[in-house]
């Protein structure tokens, strides 16, 4: 019993010392967060390994459909050229200059696609990676489009630069209309994905919560939206989809919110009854 107490007090002392050192390191601004200074080798290894494990564990649960289909890969190519090539490049094609300034540098996907299982690729493209430049495409591509992209990625390592250049892409069909039931939980995810918290304080969302626009606590109890529209689900959807149509002078931009996403966000906002 006494030995246990002694061990506990030693552990507490060590924790206090480590905590103090970490606190001083943070407070003094010691760590250089610039994208020009490289990570230390152990830091890079730690981040890369943790990311890889995290993706592997989650990707393992993804059910992979058949991907060996020319038509599917050609639709994927159209999406790749639109959404991916700017940062990741392609055989014989450099990324855009801004992408070269990112840290971590976007991966060469010919290598990644050869090494990673399709489920992992799907998972990363759909959900993105925190603290990297990799965005989540969940609210920007349907699952069909995501799989088409993965089908193309799986062909990438086998394409010569000439073959890549010669490939003909086909535009994917517009996504089929999805669920009409408004889902507040999905709406909360969507609000995060449309970066709402970079301008508003929103209960339930962790983010910059900068006071650019008004706080959204109590939105569900508020009578008027944006000072102009009576608060109801239809008007909330209307405002979220096209604020500058409602108020041309508004600082709130049109973000290309889809009907479904707006409906889900409106459902979440209507749950925010408490003004604090």
């Amino acid at each position: 019993m006494r030995r246990l107490a002694k061990a506990a007090s030693i552990a507490a002392a060590i924790a206090a010392v480590v905590g103090t050192i970490a606190g001083v390191a943070i407070q003094s601004g010691w760590y250089d967060v610039s994208a020009v200074e490289q990570h230390l080798k152990p830091t890079y290894w730690l981040l890369e390994t943790a990311m890889r494990r995290s993706v592997r564990v989650r990707g393992a649960n993804v059910a992979v459909p058949p991907l060996d289909d020319d038509a599917l890969a050609r639709r994927g190519l159209a999406l790749y050229r639109r959404n991916c090539v700017g940062c990741h490049g392609a055989p014989g094609v450099a990324p855009e200059p801004f992408a070269l300034g990112l840290a971590p540098v976007p991966a060469n996907l010919a290598y990644t696609a050869r090494e990673w299982p399709a489920g992992d690729l799907f998972w990363v493209v759909k959900y993105g990676l925190k603290m990297t430049g990799m965005p989540a495409w969940e609210f920007r591509m349907s699952d069909d489009e995501l799989w088409a992209t993965v089908a193309f990625l799986k062909r990438l390592p086998h394409l010569s630069p000439r073959e890549y250049e010669a490939l003909q892409a086909t535009e994917p069909p517009p996504p089929a209309h999805e669920s009409t039931h408004a889902d507040p939980e999905r709406g909360k995810r969507a609000m995060h994905q449309y970066a709402c918290a970079s301008c508003h304080v929103i209960p339930g969302l962790v983010g910059a919560n900068a006071p650019v626009g008004p706080p959204l606590a109590g939105f569900g109890a508020r009578a008027i939206i944006a000072g102009v529209l009576p608060n109801n689900p239809e008007n909330t959807v209307r405002w979220l989809r096209a604020p500058r149509q409602v108020n041309p002078a508004s600082a709130m931009p049109d973000l290309g919110v889809t009907e479904r996403d707006a409906r889900d966000m409106a459902a979440y906002l209507s749950t925010l009854k408490d003004t604090r």
């Binding site: 301008c199 900068a210 006071p211 650019v212 626009g213 008004p214 706080p215 606590a217 109590g218 109890a221 508020r222 009578a223 008027i224 944006a226 000072g227 102009v228 604020p243 409602v246 108020n247 002078a249 508004s250 600082a251 709130m252 003004t275």
Partner: protein, 115 residues
Amino acid sequence: MRAMVVAWIVLAAWGGEARAAAGADAENGKLLLRQYGCGTCHRIPGVAAAQGDVGPPLAGVARRVYLAGVLPNSPDNMARWIRAPRQYKPNTTMPELGVSEAQAREMVAYLQGLR
């Protein structure tokens, strides 16, 4: 050491005087916010009856980047907005209440303290 203490007292007294002047304006402003019925539509910290949920709450309004989504937040713009909201946002629900320039200044003195 003594010089530092003296400097501190002088600075504190000087700042205190400026604050007192601003404080009087702000107190008047708070009174005016009540008199013009702002609380019918807005929640305003420090104004007990101001519990309206028509427009946005005014807690932290001093830190907000835009006013009514259309004007960059500054004391001048806030006074303009209070006096003539429809000039900046024609379809706004907020009415023009006939607030004078001096009254708007005092309201702003109070609102700019809501950080």
